[in-house]
């Protein structure tokens, strides 16, 4: 009973703290909170969106099964934050000057191409779908596990959808970030506390847990882990692809558009790595420590839930809320970004006569329709969600040359960006689906080849054409802002 009360109390808290944010009346406010979010909102907005609920099931299961390799998430986070720091300045200046609302709109402006805007808008929406499905499923799973089967996964998903759809559709980015602050604080403070408690109560503390791992499964303490033979290039590839792709998700990138200043964004890069490193390290150390336990080896994705249930009803309740907080943070960010993209980057580009009021209505209904669609998808396709979600990273990394070269290289042009993006996607997904032998032998993931394809095409196209005239104007905006 305590876990289910805790879950409902947390959902009620999210709605309560958002009660004053629900009257959003313009599309700009819905998409970017009128560029008003401070450092607390951006830091926790970033962390709560980036931390997925599946991190406590699927990804921790990876560390339970293979040990140390699960720690790739920490250096990958550093790559992502470097990208965030690098794109912050130009994104913020152009976003404020031209009143931009989304990553795709930014690319449309930089490359002066509506086609690229719509294309990246579609890609952002399409590649986010598996994550939305997986997080819905996680919410249903949390309810089901925490209530010992009393609430079915389907009913759990419906309860979660009702709450998230309500505050995202009504409050937009403002509600998403307000909820993210609560979710992020819970994850960092209470979540870390319960993980430490379980490490000591169930495994005898850090040193004892590691001693057991050392004597019973030492292979889990180094790369690649027990029962797995893979090239060390794989380590490099997963860090670079995840790190470069990690900040390209529209639901993460769009948080930049909500910030009130560059100082805010850069301050959040100060706090995010330390908070992220500490909490991720804790999560993966606990997961690694579970490796020698027979139940955990047989059920790696369920291992963290199981060990918290062993620790008692309160640890289970607090852990269930932790996973719920992580899932809600991601789901709300995805829904906000997808609905903004559908309305602003697709509908308003295809039909420029759509008013701001209608655009807001489209965004709100998009949230409802996507949520119901995702509910059906998550319920029917549960078994394939992890595979699909991980596959999307191979597509997302392809966007990184388009964004980074667009922001830092004047010669980057529309033709190179479009051709590079399309061909890079084809290479990346082609190799993912066909799985040629060299991918396994050499260790580079398909996304690396897709990334290199896009990069090379953009470089060739850049040197084949002169710098476009509008680019000089954009660059002079940056110079003017920096020189004051």
């Amino acid at each position: 009973m305590i876990p289910v009360i805790s879950l409902f109390a947390f959902l009620a808290l999210i709605l309560f703290i958002n009660r004053r944010q629900l009257g959003v009346s313009t599309m700009a406010d819905y998409a970017t909170a009128n560029h008003s979010i401070g450092v607390l909102g951006i830091t926790f907005g970033f962390l709560a969106t980036w931390y997925v609920g599946a991190g406590y099931t699927v990804f921790s299961g990876f560390a339970v099964s293979f040990g140390m390799i699960g720690m790739y998430v920490i250096p990958y986070g550093i790559v992502t934050l470097l990208v965030m720091y690098l794109v912050a300045e130009k994104t913020f200046i152009w976003c404020k000057k031209y009143q931009l609302r989304t990553q795709s709109e930014l690319l449309g402006l930089r490359y002066r191409s509506d086609f690229l805007r719509v294309l990246t808008g579609f890609a952002g929406v399409g590649l986010s779908v598996p994550w939305l499905l997986m997080e819905w499923y996680t919410i249903g799973y949390v309810f089901n596990y925490a209530t010992a089967g009393f609430i079915s996964p389907l009913l759990g998903m419906i309860i979660g959808i009702f709450v998230v759809v309500f505050y995202v559709a009504m409050g937009g980015m403002r509600s998403v970030v307000t909820a993210n602050i609560v979710q992020g604080l819970y994850m960092m403070v209470v979540g870390s506390g319960v993980l430490i408690y379980v490490l000591y109560s169930e495994l005898g503390g850090l040193t004892a847990a590691m001693e057991r791992l050392f004597y019973e499964a030492p292979k889990a303490m180094t790369f690649p882990g027990p029962g797995w033979d893979v090239s060390p290039n794989y380590w490099t590839a997963i860090i670079i692809t995840s790190g470069l792709g990690g900040f390209m998700w529209p639901w993460v990138y769009n948080k930049l558009f909500a910030a009130d200043s560059i100082r805010t964004i850069k301050q959040s890069v100060l706090f995010a790595p330390v908070l992220g490193i500490l909490s991720f390290a804790l999560l993966f150390i606990l997961s690694m420590a579970l490796h020698p336990l027979p139940f955990a080896q047989k059920n790696p994705e369920e291992a963290l839930f199981w060990v918290h249930a062993q620790a008692g009803v309160w640890p289970l309740a607090l852990f269930a809320v932790l996973v719920m907080a992580a899932s809600l943070g991601t789901v709300s960010g995805i829904l906000n970004a997808m609905s903004t993209a559908i309305s602003g980057d697709i509908a308003q580009v295809i039909n420029r006569k759509i008013s701001e009021k209608t655009a807001l209505l489209i965004a709100r209904w998009s949230v409802v329709v996507m949520s119901i669609g995702a509910l059906v998808g998550a319920y029917l396709k549960e078994g394939q969600l992890v595979f699909l979600a991980l596959m999307t990273y191979q597509g997302m990394i392809v966007l990184s040359p388009v964004v980074l070269l667009g922001l830092y290289w004047r010669r980057a042009n529309k033709i190179g960006a479009i051709a590079g993006f399309l061909l890079g996607m084809m290479v990346s997904f082609g190799l993912t689906l066909s799985e040629p032998a060299f991918i396994q032998t050499y260790g580079w993931t398909p996304g690396v080849y897709g990334f290199l394809t896009t990069l090379i095409i953009m470089l060739i196209a850049g040197y084949m054409r002169p710098v476009e005239s509008h680019v000089e104007t954009l660059w002079s905006d940056i110079t003017k802002a920096k020189e004051g």
Binding site: I78, P232, S261, I262
Partner: protein, 86 residues
């Protein structure tokens, strides 16, 4: 190009190099394989794990230094005029 912009570029280049160096050391296979060992252990944690966490914390220190350096140079309080034509 003004002296302010030149300093800004140099600063950016310096910190990108430092942070990229930590990423390179973490990911470059020969160095990664050298560090991919259990001993010496710290509080029971394998060296491979401590090495990765330490390098990430070092990168976090570089981020902090970058921020402080930009803040002192007044590079974080930019005035941006809104384009009224849109």
């Amino acid at each position: 190009m003004s002296a302010k912009l030149v300093r800004s570029r140099r600063r950016t280049a310096l910190f990108i190099t430092l942070i990229s160096a930590t990423i390179f050391i973490t990911t470059f296979p020969p160095i990664f394989l050298w560090a991919n060992t259990i001993e010496p252990r710290f509080m029971g944690l394998p060296f491979a794990l401590v090495w990765n966490i330490s390098l990430s914390l070092l990168a976090a220190v570089f981020f902090a230094a970058w921020y402080v350096s930009e803040s002192r140079a007044g590079a974080l309080d930019l005035d941006v005029e809104v384009e009224t034509g849109k």
